[in-house]
């Protein structure tokens, strides 16, 4: 697919600009490029589906749409073997802790695609007492794919957008770092206390 055919190109350009502004070593930069080339062409999804969108995800894996030809080879059932998570379906109150834990179990670098109206905003169930109004409140989202459910072509487009993003990221010292220290401290108040004591 040619570059001009994609939407939201400014977003990618901004990312590239950011990269260029910070500057990088020729060697590290070339290695980055090589690794990202590999990563962006073998993004493996996690088998995660709660409702209707999941069935379109099944169609995506079958012969007609065949996501394997793009290198998104197989859906893994274990989060430890997956690169990204396609949130296909509604997330409700009881599912929130489970969903967050699954996200935490994904190995870094990890990505999330919010697939369908429910994952984006709660969709038709927005006013319900038990439905999360979009998954952005729970995990950071990289790509949104609208639809109810999105057709498999739209899902393919969404994952292509994700692989474009992966391609321009800084891998070394960037996304491969396990956790940003500040985030870690924020999530673990005990560690923050300990740090304070050490620093006097």
């Amino acid at each position: 697919m040619p570059y001009e055919a994609f939407k939201d190109n400014e977003y990618i350009e901004n990312l590239v600009q950011e990269l260029q502004a910070s500057g990088t070593n020729v060697l590290v930069g070339s290695l980055d490029k090589l690794i990202n080339w590999g990563r962006s062409n073998s993004l493996w999804p996690l088998t995660f589906a709660t409702s209707c969108c999941g069935i379109e995800f099944v169609s995506l894996g079958a012969a007609r749409f065949d996501m394997a030809r793009f290198g998104w080879e197989v859906a893994r059932s274990s989060p430890r073997q997956a690169d990204f998570m396609m949130v296909a379906g509604t997330i409700v109150g009881r599912m929130v802790p489970v969903f967050r834990r699954l996200y935490d179990q994904l190995a870094e670098p990890k990505y999330v695609i919010a697939c369908g109206g429910c994952a984006i905003s709660g969709g038709p169930f927005k006013r319900s007492y038990h439905v999360a109004k979009g998954i952005e409140d729970i995990v950071p989202v990289d790509v949104f794919v609208p639809g109810c459910p999105p057709c498999p072509e739209a899902m393919i487009y969404g994952i292509m957008q994700l692989s474009r993003k992966v391609k321009v990221e800084r891998f070394f010292g960037g996304v491969n770092r396990q956790e940003k220290e500040q985030d870690f401290v924020k999530e673990h108040p005990v560690a923050a206390e300990a740090e304070k004591i050490i620093n006097g």
Binding site: S51, I55, S59, G93, R94, R127, H130, V131
Partner: protein, 539 residues
């Protein structure tokens, strides 16, 4: 009907009657259990379709819908209470096993306690959930659903009884035996077909008990419907059992049309039936593929999805979507069929026999398939009725429960087709019943496709639809079994109560009793053969 009414009036002098499409008996709550037993044993109403909880602001109540498996007639009875603090009714869980689950659902939604129910826990919501969401005075913002703290788990359930002094007493009861080894399966598991969780107690390899834990996709559809206009409520039926989207739409439309007195044009009726049967073929094809995948035969999915994609193409041309079609609407269908519709459907019917033959050749006679499916998860006819297991799974146990035959709607009484009833009641029978149903669905479509009458597809329907005061109950056959709609109206533009009776709840509830004594490795094959859809059971 008159004689039953007189009989009941003679036995239960306190009962009052309410003539609606289904006879409704009002009964004081101390005679509830007695009436239920009498209806089951003396009048032959042996199948409990559902229990509907209602909140009428000044009173809480429960309506029980019963059906006779021989006469195919329905009857209902209702108990109400004005006590909003501690509402309590007698449980009928000793008469019908499925009542345990139905009563748990009402406890979850309305806070009504059922005395002597062996398992009075919440069904869909967390243990610590505040309030009862389907009550009219529930504050929608009162619970924080975004908490990432793991929910509190309990191995205990409550049993409520009435003591000698009339006070309600609570006793704690363990779900599992003290020495049980409990394996947790789900909610994120590729073989549970969605976010369902089984807490499985095993003795060695043998399953001793399964605690089915639902609610991971409970979206509160019934509550949402209460704040929407009737045409808007239609869209939720698509998203419960997304394979039976047309069938469920059809059911809700029929119910609203009957209530509003709208006559549906014949052309629309025929189109609806063709769409229902196409959905059934597509649904069973996907079942075929995913079920074989559960057994390790991954390639079958690619073969069966070929037919499904062909059907989805037909749907896309006419309805504009691959799933969640929103095609049926009140008074008919949204738009006329595509000019290529007849040609495409005929092409599908022409390729179907060859495809089915291929599937049979590839999988059904396979020695591994036979070994894993035959004599597994046996369910007798009585067992199926006790748990209300309808659809192909119920018919595989010898229970003829096809709504298309027992309560024909639309043009089903004008077409020739056989109801697939098998006697074995094992996984293999449930599997084969679906393949045979594909053939019957094709037969129905064959009879109709050349005879779609000319004319309008949509009746004249008022822009703002108001239903008269009253209540209605409608049954249709979904792809997985009986689908029912109960609507209660106060004369306004939105319902007071809209209840969906979905087959998957029963299918999941029965997993415990038919897997007990089998090996844990067979749990997936037995549960898979029931073919439940998780958003359908959770609603």
């Amino acid at each position: 009907m008159a004689t039953i009414k007189e009989d009941i009036a003679a036995r239960f002098p306190k009962a009052t009657f309410d003539e609606a499409d289904v006879l409704l008996i009002n009964i004081p709550d101390d005679q509830l259990h007695e009436l239920a037993r009498s209806l089951r044993d003396d009048f032959g109403y042996d199948f409990l379709i559902t229990i509907v909880g209602v909140d009428r602001k000044d009173s809480l109540g429960a309506i029980y819908f019963l059906s006779s498996t021989t006469q195919h007639t329905e009857i209902s009875f209702q108990v109400t209470t004005t006590d909003r603090e501690h509402p309590a009714f007698e449980s009928i869980a000793d008469l019908w096993s499925i009542a345990t689950i139905y009563e748990r659902e009402i406890f979850d939604f309305y806070g009504i306690i059922f005395l002597n129910n062996p398992d009075m826990r919440r069904l869909f919501l967390n243990i610590d959930w505040k309030g009862y969401p389907l009550r009219k005075d529930y504050d929608m913002e009162s619970n924080n659903i975004l908490s990432t703290e793991s929910e509190r788990q309990s191995d205990f359930t409550n049993v409520y009884t009435r003591g000698a002094d009339g006070k309600i007493e609570v006793a704690e009861k363990a779900v599992f035996k003290p020495n049980d080894f409990v394996v947790n399966i789900g909610p994120q598991h590729p073989a549970t077909h969605g976010v369902l969780r089984f807490r499985t107690a095993v003795d060695g390899e043998m399953i001793t008990k399964i605690d089915v834990y639902m609610g991971y996709i409970h979206r509160g559809i019934e509550k949402l419907c209460e704040s929407l206009g009737y045409p808007q409520t239609l869209h939720y039926t698509d998203r419960m059992d997304y394979f039976s989207a047309h069938n469920y739409h059809h059911g809700l439309c029929l119910c609203i049309e009957r209530a509003a007195g709208i006559e549906v044009p014949r052309r629309a009726q025929v189109i609806r039936v063709i769409m229902d049967e196409l959905s059934r073929i597509a649904s069973h094809c996907l079942f075929f593929g995913t079920y074989c995948m559960d057994l390790g035969a991954t390639t079958m999915l690619f073969y069966t999805l070929r037919v499904r994609e062909q059907i989805l193409d037909i749907m896309t041309k006419t309805c504009g979507a691959r799933m969640t079609f929103n095609y049926d609407c009140i008074g008919g269908v949204m738009a006329d069929v595509d000019p290529d519709f007849v040609k495409d459907v005929k092409a599908l019917l022409a390729t179907l026999p060859a495809n089915l033959k291929e599937y049979n050749k590839l999988f059904v006679g396979n020695v591994i398939a036979e070994g894993r499916l035959e004599n597994m998860g046996n369910m007798s006819r009585e067992h199926a009725i006790q748990w209300g297991v309808t659809g192909p799974s119920g018919r595989a146990s010898g229970w003829s429960c096809d709504v298309r035959k027992t309560h024909p709607y639309a043009v089903y009484n004008e077409v020739q087709f056989d109801e697939i009833v098998m006697q074995e009641g094992d996984s293999m029978a449930r599997f084969k019943a679906r393949i045979l149903e594909i053939e019957q669905s094709a037969r129905i479509i064959e009879q109709l496709i050349d005879n779609i009458p000319e004319g309008e597809v949509l009746a004249k329907v008022p822009k703002v639809l108001k239903l008269p005061v009253g209540h209605w109950f409608q049954l249709v056959e979904g792809c997985r079994g009986l689908f029912g709609v109960y609507i209660e109206s106060d004369g306004g533009t939105s319902p007071v109560r809209m209840k969906f009776v979905t087959p998957s709840l029963n299918l999941a509830a029965v997993v415990d009793s038919i897997t007990t004594g089998n090996k844990i490795a067979d749990l997936i094959t037995i549960a898979g053969s029931l073919d439940y859809i998780v958003p359908d059971m959770d609603r």
